[in-house]
């Protein structure tokens, strides 16, 4: 596999990049902080990456730079066949309610920018016979909850987009994987109370990699969240109004 990975310096993206590098996939790490990209690339090489490990600049807040970043990944990997976007924005609901500019940034990064990037990559991959686009949405996008519907809405939009992308490009050889992590213990969620069924980044990465290999359209990680969300999706709205989670 030749994968361009956005968000490989942190959390689940870091764990996923390690698994891929260990088994010999070629990687181009995309991100905005050159020093962090370099540190993560060095980590992968020192751990014995068998394929290429390259880096290139990409800032999700600047869609104008996406084409150049994908060009750079293409050059480094002699045409990538997989794009993985694990990066995203997160802030607690109260912070987003308080600060409209902060909310605007989160909606832009999680939905607009991620959709624009995946759309461009899908078109590029379709043009050369196919490939895989994998992006991290969230279980928060499966059902709106009063305690985090702003973040959830950005992920609901992304999930709908990825479903459409899957339908639109299936005939042109592009597989689309929508990852819906439940609560995962990363730096992003540090400082929040840990709910039951919380996952570790390494375990999530293994589930995601299998989904990428198989082209599974929707994958929950840890897998138990598929059943939890099934139940939560079935709850009547009157119940959702009463529960406080």
């Amino acid at each position: 596999m030749k994968a361009a990975v956005v968000g490989a310096t942190r959390g689940m993206g870091r764990a996923l990049a390690r698994l891929m590098a260990e088994r010999g996939d070629a990687l181009c790490l995309l991100g905005r902080d050159a020093a962090e990209l370099e540190a993560s690339a060095r980590d992968l090489v020192a751990r014995g990456a068998r394929g290429v490990v390259a880096t290139a600049r990409l800032d999700l807040a600047e869609p104008a730079g996406f084409a150049a970043a994908l060009d750079a990944a293409d050059r480094a990997l002699a045409a990538f066949d997989t794009l993985v976007v694990t990066a995203g924005d997160f802030a607690p609901q109260e912070a987003l309610e308080r600060d409209p500019a902060r909310l605007g940034r989160l909606l832009d990064v999680n939905f607009t920018a991620t959709a624009l990037l995946c759309q461009q990559a899908a078109e590029r991959l379709a043009g050369r016979g196919g490939g895989t686009v994998c992006a991290f949405s969230s279980v928060a996008g499966d059902r709106a909850r009063r305690s985090n519907y702003l973040y959830g809405a950005s992920k609901a939009g992304l999930s709908a987009f990825l479903e459409g992308l899957h339908l639109a490009y299936a005939d042109r050889g592009v597989r689309v994987v929508c990852v819906r992590p439940g609560f995962v213990k990363t730096a992003m969620t540090a400082g929040l109370p840990v709910p039951p069924f919380a996952g570790e980044p390494d375990a999530v990465a293994r589930v995601v990699l299998r989904a990428i290999d198989r082209g599974t359209p929707v994958v929950y990680a840890p897998p138990i969240w598929r059943f939890i969300m099934l139940v939560i999706r079935l709850l009547p709205r009157a119940v959702m109004r009463r529960v406080r989670f």
């Binding site: 310096t9 962090e36 540190a39 993560s40 980590d43 213990k185 730096a187 400082g191 929040l192 109370p193």
Partner: protein
């Protein structure tokens, strides 16, 4: 349950592996190790495997910086085995990545679920201490972020005092962000191990001394409920890394892991059941060893089983029930010898305090690091189920014996020792305090333990 501070930061309960001494802290788990701006007190914490209160916040709501997410390898010299890594990298990960390439940690404690930063801060020792010394001996360089926020490099030659105060310094001199250490080359992931039953304490101490002449790894397991003539009876284990010729083809199977899902009920630790467990363990090994003479060709065993038997049981600390347990580990100088060790064991037996097996081991020479635990002599480690004041009284009594013998306790295990007792155990404490005060005059780095044994403000 969930408790929110005004700022919205959730305070979670933080405890050591023994689960006694719990305090709520504001825990962050960053991927880049950086102190928070300002001069807020902070406690660095690795994977939380110190038993007592070394990694428990000094006061309710204090800031705890967990390092385990900062786990990148910075550089690896494949000729020399020199590894530079972020402080949160665990020994488990080092084994997973580097053991297949023929490199092993130079020193390892009895669990691999510890961070490299934690190994430095506790100056951990292993079954090879008699030959190789503690972890700090293999550290070439540390990067620390000190109290005023500046980043300082230190090592055996550079900023030597800060280095010697940080190795074994329990994270109280600064936030260790990066470590350079020397791994040791090994031929395989297998161990050649011999076990031998020994009938009593004298034979155990002699056995450890003799085994230490030829074997890199030695340890004894003691049935610490055996009395009278059987006091100190146990199993002596000797091990070394198997050569390529001795090792079976291929790596050992992945260790299987069971989880303890619940806190065990306290009757499980009743003295009768515990005595039964200890005796069964002894006789199992005794029979096994008689059937297979110790001098005969031993079958290699996977290194994980030899070094980390308890890692096979996830959350084994829950076996001690909801109130948790103390692990008591002390070392007494060789000069004090068998009488001091016998006195400690007798006191534990007399107290009838339930304990799984105790571990006994002989240590090599003391290191230069001011607060490093091991000194030339015998170390004894045993678990004591926590049963309130009477368990603490027992620890104070054991401490009195240790002080009289010129020994000390291990801060990575301790949850109870009083400041006045600790001061009597560590002759170089004043030197250490001087270095700490120079780098952290306000004692920004503090823990529940530093409040207890060093008199820091909570």
């Amino acid at each position: 349950m969930a408790e929110l501070k005004p700022a919205g930061l959730y305070l979670e309960p933080v405890a050591g592996w023994g689960r006694h001494a719990v305090e709520r802290g504001a825990v962050v788990r960053p991927e880049r190790l950086l102190l928070p701006p300002g001069d807020r007190p902070v406690l660095p914490r690795g994977l939380g495997r110190s038993y007592g209160d070394a990694a428990v916040p000094a006061s309710h709501g204090a800031f705890v910086l967990e390092t385990a997410r900062a786990d990148r390898v910075v550089a690896f010299d494949r000729e020399r085995g020199t590894l530079t890594c972020e402080a949160g990298l665990s020994l488990a990960e080092i084994l997973r990545v580097f053991l297949p390439r023929g490199w092993f940690p130079p020193v390892t404690p009895g669990t691999k679920f510890v961070t490299v930063g934690g190994c430095v801060a506790c100056d951990v020792h292993g079954k090879n201490h008699h030959r190789d010394g503690p972890f700090g001996r293999f550290v070439d360089r540390l990067v620390l972020q000190v109290a005023d926020g500046s980043v300082v490099e230190c090592g055996p030659e550079r900023e030597r005092e800060l280095f010697l105060a940080t190795v074994g310094g329990m994270g109280l001199t600064g936030l260790i962000t990066e470590v350079t250490l020397r791994l040791q080359p090994v031929d395989s992931a297998w161990m050649v191990v011999e076990t031998e039953p020994v009938p009593g304490l004298g034979a155990m101490l002699d056995g450890l001394r003799d085994a230490g002449k030829d074997w890199p790894y030695t340890v004894g397991w003691i049935d610490c409920l055996a009395r009278g003539a059987a006091l100190g009876r146990g199993i002596l284990m000797r091990g070394r890394h198997a050569s390529r010729a001795e090792a079976p083809a291929g790596p050992p199977p992945e260790p299987r892991r069971l989880d303890v899902p619940l806190d065990a009920p306290e009757w499980l630790l009743s003295p009768i059941l515990m005595r039964g467990f200890n005796a069964a363990y002894y006789w199992k090994h005794a029979r096994w060893s008689h059937a297979r003479p110790p001098r005969g060709p031993a079958r290699p065993v996977p290194c994980h089983g030899f070094f980390y038997p308890l890692d096979a049981i996830g959350g084994w600390n829950r076996l001690y029930g909801r109130r948790g347990f103390l692990q008591y580990q002390c070392v007494v100088p060789r000069a004090a010898g068998p009488p001091a060790v016998a006195e400690l064991l007798e006191r534990v037996v007399e107290a009838g305090t339930a304990s799984f097996l105790a571990v006994i081991k002989d240590c090599g020479p003391e290191s230069d690091a001011y607060l490093s635990f091991p000194l030339e002599g015998t170390t004894l480690a045993l678990d004591l189920a926590y049963r309130g004041p009477r368990t603490e009284t027992l620890v104070h009594e054991l401490n009195a014996t240790v002080i009289a013998a010129g020994g000390r306790v291990y801060l990575a295990k301790d949850a109870v020792t009083r400041a006045q007792d600790f001061a009597l155990m560590v002759p170089r404490l004043a030197e250490w305090r001087k270095v700490r005060d120079r780098w952290d005059p306000e004692h920004r780095f503090r823990s529940a333990q530093s409040v207890r044994v060093l008199g820091d403000t909570p």
